[in-house]
């Protein structure tokens, strides 16, 4: 019985020690990721203008094609712009899932209730001092069973971690596709400039904006790899935290440059 009791206490201590990894550095990363997404929206805002110029070539003065309705709306996004925006929205959800996990919010009950469990175990200890042997045994067995079950929940968490690790490739592939699509985004802008006899200086500015965006995407992909490593390694990865904090600084810089370019380029057409 005493052995069971100490097993229960020991298990609860293990659970406390193995709580979900969560470092303040990850919150910085999450904020930077939000900034990165905002920068992406700004790029899309500008790209959208160029895209519409080219799509307008497919319209006619005498007919109306609902598939080209975006051309006639000042605020509508073109299909390509919409698709890129949707992708980043989904990527952000994934990132938030990941960040919640790392911040220990996914299992938020655990923090609060581990203390309750510990308190319950203390109650078991006080029961052991009494003479009610039957109650003692049942209480200890119950506590141990629950704590073992809780350790199974940890197994679930580990399964989640593995799943995230494996599925992160999907995010990376999206970022790769968007990165590759910047070739066509620039092509679209160049064509629109020729079609509208537009500004070559603005086109050059857009190219710089795209370049910053590509660097941002590359940085985000690198951060994703670091984040995966952090998830796999669990706690105590100060090096990874440091890397993330550094990358957040870089992301902020790219985001600022993109934001400035966006301000300059909006309303070109």
């Amino acid at each position: 019985m005493l052995k069971l009791f100490f097993y229960a206490i020991g298990l609860s201590l293990i659970l406390t020690a193995c709580s979900v990894p969560g470092e303040s550095g990850f919150r910085d990363y999450r904020e930077s990721y939000d900034a990165a997404r905002l920068a992406s929206e700004q790029v899309v805002d500008v790209y959208n203008q160029y895209d519409k110029v080219n799509r307008r070539l497919r319209t006619s003065d005498v007919t109306f094609d609902p598939d080209l309705a975006d051309v006639f709306s000042e605020t509508a996004l073109t299909p390509i712009s919409t698709k890129i925006s949707e992708g980043f929205a989904a990527a952000t959800i994934y990132t938030e899932v990941l960040a919640r996990y790392l911040d220990n919010n996914t299992l938020s009950l655990q923090d609060d209730d581990l203390s309750t469990i510990n308190a319950a175990t203390t109650s078991v200890a006080s029961l052991l001092k009494s003479d009610e042997a039957g109650a003692q045994i049942n209480a200890v067995i119950g506590a141990v069973r629950s704590l073992v079950n809780l350790s199974l929940a940890r197994d679930d968490r580990d399964e989640f971690v593995r799943s995230v690790r494996e599925n992160s490739q999907i995010v990376d592939e999206f970022l790769m596709v968007v990165r590759a699509d910047t070739v066509d985004m620039y092509r679209t802008a160049r064509t629109a400039t020729a079609v509208s006899n537009g500004s070559n200086e603005k086109l050059e500015e857009f190219r710089t904006m795209l370049a910053n965006w590509v660097l941002l995407i590359d940085q985000t992909r690198a951060d994703l790899a670091v984040l995966q490593a952090q998830v796999e390694a669990g706690t105590g990865q100060q090096t990874a935290v440091k890397l993330l904090a550094d990358s957040a600084t870089r992301i902020d810089r790219y985001a600022q440059e993109i934001s400035a370019a966006r301000d300059s380029l909006m309303g070109v057409f």
Partner: protein, 516 residues
Amino acid sequence: MSGNPFGTEIDSLTTDLFRLNSEISSASGSTKDALQKERSAKLQALAKLDALSEEWRLGRLTQAVEALKQLAVSELARQARIRQRLSRLLQGLGVDSPDVEEESVDNVDVGSNASTDTGNHNSSALHQQIIIDARAFDALSRVAQSEVGHFAKHGIDQLEGGVAAVVDTIINRVAHKSFPDTIETVVDQRFQFSAINTLGTWELLPVARLNIQNIIRDYLDDRIAGLKGMLGGATHFLNPHLSSANALAQWGNHVVANAVAHFGDDTKKDVHFHGFAPGTPLPRAYQIFFDSFSPTFDGRGNAQSTVKSSGLRQGVLDTLEAELEFFDNGKHKEADDEVWERVGTYWAALGLPYHGRSKVTLSNGKVVNPAWSAAFISWAIAEQGIGSDRFKGAQGHWRYVADALEGIFSKPLFEVMDPTKFAPQPGDLVHYGREWASQFDLVAAKEHIQIDGFYPSHSDFVVSVDRNAKLISTVGGNVSNSVSQKRQKIDSSGVLLPHEKNGSKYPWIAVMRLLS
């Protein structure tokens, strides 16, 4: 490289266009005509290639984006399941177990207490995400069939309504902090749904018939599109003819007396009354995922991010929608044949004789069209039957803002809200300064109203809020010389971000909250 098979040809045509642009600018006569003809041909070819290129790019992007969406959804659902499992384990420890068992939600004559709190299972969150995947849909269909599948004998309306009401009850429970937070666990909760009591789990219920599945699918599709919940957030239902006296006394009679809906046939003692057990708070705000995400609903099931409203607010929105359609969303300009007289209707609301082709001469001799954006606001409100005892129309937007600030009405139509703190809702006005007042915020505007009064400004009605996309849509008059829709950015809490023009950012002065 992008790998775009049309890229090289597009690049070549674009280079040709740059060359032609240059040559045309220095050419004249027949040479210029020939060059322009060549340019037109190139543009036509480019249009076709651009369409092909777009299709190719969309194919590649769609594949990556759809995979990403699936991932996001599955990881969200996984997270919810882990949380739920942990909740149950903790409940097993006695951390969170209910003191009493609740009687079945419908008609089971067991148990004695009808506590409305079945255990605090749901963790707090801004809003609950309710994932309806294939398994959850199966659970919903089976339990709905077990409860009301026989309602067809009372008519198809009773069947459809009854099924949708069971589905809504379960959704409301998942959203409610006092119930488990997945469809399956709500359905399987002890002593809640009569058919489950004997079987222990929905998985042992018969698979639902196709017609039941179709009713549920149609209803969920409508909810995803923003349809208001049919029960106003209610979490309980019962058949009083089959309930125990104890249950009726504790909560059943209350539900019947205050029913928000009922389906079946009371005369044949085969009926479900839906409502709230005494003291039951509303569910939390929630979002449904069923192939795609719904807007966020409040606890009563009202969509917060689409144009779903009632009464005055809905009337304003309906008016705006009709006007937007009349102007073909900004395509018809104020002086166009189709709409110029319509603009006159707006002015008439102020008793002024202008219209869409009116010209006024300023003191400096400049001839302009009189700005009619405030007349549009005044007209749209007058259309709702609102009198001058609640809102005085004005030619300048600042005037009705000043009226609201000065509190001249005993029952005002609008309340001036700080735009940096208050999230605008459909039907509200968003107000900002123009020209020399473009940097005005609420404090500056208040000061100016006290000192001077007039400042150049503009307002638009909010017609929809999409917190997921962090955007609101607005409709205003004299926007691009038409009635047009615009989008403005909001933050994650729904508060307006500075509006932008020509690359610069400007503050908002106020959100004018529409009062009922």
